[in-house]
Symmetry: C2
């Protein structure tokens, strides 16, 4: 296994300590239980947003803690749900008089542990389940659709609304709305290697891809020969659009996400391919983001996410944000 | 070859078009000759900064075009120098009454083509050669030391100085100073695959690493068995410090750069390892940046860069910047 590592058991904690030191102006890291929280308390009462999930998808979620986005993130071991005591401790630290909103990707382990965490706290709380992956219903770790790269868009937009002092119900309802407006789907060229396993999670032959792959390497719709970028893009984008059913002249946010092992050059090529296709379908790409935001360790491949935009989503996407991985206007 | 591609010959142009569309608020892309330039002319006369080099290192350099950094970037084919007509066209577009400063990584092809480009323009111009790689003297494509991840730091800081209206001589002299204060060194766990070649540039067995590798996969100091993250970090950091000879209590910027195929989790682990070591040597890490900024396509591995800080470098590092890959306070 070719990784920068001292002891496999310590990867997460050593990485978290480094993360805390590298971004000590924005966040602080608590160990045992592990959670990342905003360094400075917000200036006014607000709903506290807490997300989390298995590690290995960085910068999701820890990279999105900060002004205008998350108040805390709970990282589990690689590809494993965080434990309830992490959510309990994070919630008690970042509670800010307006209740707690948990943002959870739809995996059975995450759902269960976030529920148990929620039961352990005394503060009002609600939960948003993100399930933007249109590839498959039910999968290795999921009942229903998986939560993938659209999570970042949900976190950014609710994060912005929460900063305005909106109520817990308003934040919950807006987050559910953004999730509903969002669809994603991805393709893998290679597996990733989970450090504790020390070998690739699955095998793909040299000319194969996993179409509709999950962000832990879960099976997608089928395994097939690699196609051209335009062919891959077309099938994914059309599948997402069947789900989202955009209006004519619909304005959208287009997110091309890399899984970790694919060069930026290829991600921009995918963006071009998708943008051209969407224009031909009378869909207007008015916001865009390209890069490695929801990764699967070293997996080669990537995903598309489309969010149908309305005035409110645009406002809360464009607003200032100051985290280690998304930062603008601040 | 597992890449998102339509035709290998079109990867660069399709990717550039996508880059231009995804960031149309910041930059514009010109094709044939290829260059990326700031979308809006600066508000006042300033030295125009132009960098460039082979593609495949993204976000370097195109991702650093925008307010507070580069005025233009000239991308060559993958790992090939840009041609002189690119530099000529870019210079003629972004010239802003105070001369042109070229920022060139020290590779023989880049040096030659930038010189020829400079000869083709009528404006006053000077060139900064970045040669921060302390691993080896002379290499496959270089006489002297190679220019690697420190280039981003040179571009950020001169970019900031240029925005103040500083003269060409002042910018040139400050850039040379930042380059001199900066040292880098990296290690590769895998080769990258250049699209036109279709196969890995070099072979490393499953337990080997290339110590002191170049960003095109050029040989480093030696090939050896993979060591622990702490051992790798220690040798690299000590080699950089031997070169930079910091004072006791020296303040530094520590940059951990991923080559493309290494997860963020491991880069933060490297940051922790280096930060701890530097503290023990009475060196103060007061600025930091961790991520994939100077990549080698899909290569697994990474590098450390240290810049010795003074008041001026700190001021121009911290100042506002608005590019597609570095953005803060704006």
């Amino acid at each position: 296994m070719k990784k920068f590592v001292n002891k496999v058991d310590n990867i997460l904690s050593e990485s978290l300590i480094g993360f805390g030191k590298a971004h000590s102006d924005i966040i602080k890291v608590n160990l045992s239980p592990d959670y990342i929280s905003r360094k400075n308390k917000p200036n006014k009462d607000k709903v506290a947003l807490i997300s989390g999930g298995g590690s290995g998808h960085e910068p999701l979620h820890g990279g999105f803690v900060g002004y205008g986005m998350l108040d805390a993130a709970c990282p589990g071991q690689v590809f494993s749900a965080p434990t309830p005591d992490q959510m309990e401790a994070a919630a008690n630290e970042v509670y800010n008089k307006k209740g707690i909103l948990f943002i959870v990707k739809n995996y059975s382990g995450d759902i269960m542990n976030f529920e148990m965490g929620a039961d352990m706290i005394d503060h009002d709380n609600q939960t948003i389940i993100v399930n933007d992956d249109v590839a498959v219903e039910d999968s290795t770790f999921t009942t229903g659709r998986r939560g993938v790269a659209g999570t970042m868009i949900v976190e950014k937009t609710i994060g912005s609304l929460a900063e305005t002092g909106a109520s817990l119900n308003e934040c919950k309802s807006f987050g559910d709305h953004v999730n509903k407006m969002t669809g994603s789907m991805g393709v893998a060229f290679t597996s990733c290697t989970v450090p504790a396993a020390g070998k690739p999670t699955f095998e793909l032959s040299v000319d194969e891809m996993e179409f509709g792959v999950g962000i832990h390497g879960e099976p997608g719709r089928r395994r097939e020969k690699i196609k051209s970028a335009d062919e891959i893009t077309k099938e994914i984008i059309e599948t997402i659009l069947e789900d989202l059913k955009p209006e004519n002249n619909q304005e959208v946010l287009l997110h091309v996400n890399g899984f970790g092992g694919t060069p930026l050059m290829e991600l921009y090529l995918l963006f071009e391919s998708a943008q051209k296709l969407l224009v031909n379908k009378n869909i207007k790409v008015s916001r865009s983001i390209v890069g490695n935001y929801t990764t699967s360790l070293d997996m080669a491949g990537g995903s598309f996410t489309i969010t149908k935009l309305d005035e409110n989503i645009i406002k809360h996407w464009d607003s200032p944000v100051h985290t280690s991985s998304l930062r603008w206007k601040i």
